[in-house]
Amino acid sequence: MSKNIDIHVHHVTRVEGHGDVLLNVKDGRVEHVALNIVEAPRFFEGMLRGRAHYEVREIVSRICGICACGHALASVRASEAALGIEPSEQVVDLRKIVLAGENLSSHFLHIFFLVAPDLFGVKSVLPLATTHRDIVVRALKLKKLGNDVSDVIVGRHVHPITLDIKGFTVLPSVSALADVQKQIIEMIPEVVDTVDLIASVAGGIPDFTRETEYISLGPVSGSTEYPFYDGVIKSSEGITYYPAEYRKVTNEFIIPDSTAKHCKHLRDSYMVGALARFNNNSDLLHPEAKKAAEKLGMIAPVHNPYMITLAQLIETIHIMHDTVEIIDKIIRRGIKDEDYTYQPRAGTGSGAVEVPRGILFHHYTYDSKGRIEYADCVIPTTQNLENIDQDFRKLAPTILDKSEEEISLLLQMLVRAYDPCISCSTHQLNVRFK
């Protein structure tokens, strides 16, 4: 077949940030296919230099409007590691709820607003507001639930207010937590219905597989918790690292002819995010989430990146049940006033947390006055970029018999499946191809 194709999708829609999809085919041969990041650079690490310890969290949560709490949490964890501070059990439990709320909110946004229109064959959620109003209302309610879960502790999900190094500026009341717990319990059936709904349209998910390396947090030794907040760095290749060793995993590198930083570990590329977490830790999911996985036909390891959305849906069920249990524990124990003051000192530390799109690393060095000497943030989307390009290279040659419109849609759906957070990618920007 001799076919020439020249696709340039300018600013892929229904993703966070600005990216272009490029495909050039000459005489039936793929010459070039890539996701091209065109977001304006923001230079966060450069902005942090010289900033005081109490300003850092404030600034970095502004890296991303979707994972604002995740950035704040990776930040305070890195600062605490650097400043020699150990947060209390109460603080850790409350932070887990904050992260849970954010992961819920982002996953629901992605599932309903960004991916579902493709499965229903429409351009956006707007036509669904007429044809499937009940689904849109459910989507808005579930997304709001995620925000409410975070809000009860940090005041506002975008951007968190009370969340500080060592603790919080104010603590939530037991009654506010009980109230949000009740909301979660009430909404669980809606998510179970959503599993059935998505299972019914899952036939529309493209059939494509490429085995890759999966990297996520893994459980700390002896823990049975599906790790979001606490854990070691785990590779599906059977290796684990401490968070402080994150650079052994990320290995950021620069590609000739492009200005993007990409990441790779043991294979050509690796994946982070819901599917990586599911593949690495599915045995630790809540039993109800395991049931959902069964309904959706998801058995780890799953090598189809379009299934990331299903892994997110499974995670929402896990997170809701898990959060109900954490709140139970806090209610039993009661909320205690604690001393959250600390003294700055010189030091270096790293923090790793699982945010919606995957494992996020912050790493800081402070001087003796508690001012930033060096800062580094490695964002999930940066880590996924090389994996997306590798998927493109395997996928594109197999779909050339389709129309340009269909090819373009399949490539865009693949980008959307990864739920890229391009504004977040403070490193790699302006990927430019000749």
């Binding site: 230079f43 450069g46 902005m47 230099r49 300003e55 502004r62 960004l114 707007l126 009370t162 920007l429």
Partner: protein, 247 residues
Amino acid sequence: MSKPRIAFFDFASCEGCQLEAINFVEEFLVLLGHVDIVQFREAITEAEWDIDVSFVEGSITREQDIPRLEEIRENSKVVIALGACACTGGVNAIKNTRPLEDVRADVYGDKKDWFPTFPTRPIDQVIKVDGYIYGCPIDRNDFLKNVQLILQGKMTLRHNDPVCVECRLKENECLLTLGKPCMGPITRGGCGAIDPTFGHPCTGCRGLVDDPNENAAMDVLAENGLTVEDIKSYMTIFNAFRPEDIQ
């Protein structure tokens, strides 16, 4: 009468303000009944021009963004700056406080020349802006109030009363008296004093009121144990932009 055609655009930002705009359920559905959303890349694929009201999030940080912003201006009857990055430069303007070459080298090392950038500026330094919705992020209630005004062809709220006014009305304990650095006395209100209400000092995200008494505010912060270096740093988290930086 046809419904007003509104659009959302973003430049250097976290896109959190657009998210805040859809983060309420009932009001969002009501709003959808009154307007047609014709561009909103983060949420929808449809894209049309001939816009009545454009909400623009983000600040301008590089040459190539200027033509796109001008195109938005040419195709919109009304342009509203949405959020701190668009209104005042927001946190993006922190990079203006250090030599640009150093900032670029911190992030991109010896490849810094691959990343063209210029000093951060709010959008009204590039195009004419008809209204402002302040904050990092915007306040949902303030957004709704302003949208009502805009759809009636009125001016957006200037919010020249500082954050302290609403803070007092909420009967919060003053954080300055507790020894915390708070920008409330010189920062535009309209946020319901949300930070101090949650025990966190105001960081000035909504920009400074017209004719702020910055010296007096610095004296107050100094009384609370901050050094001049600390104060200057704190005051530039959201208010680093100075027009002379882009001359």
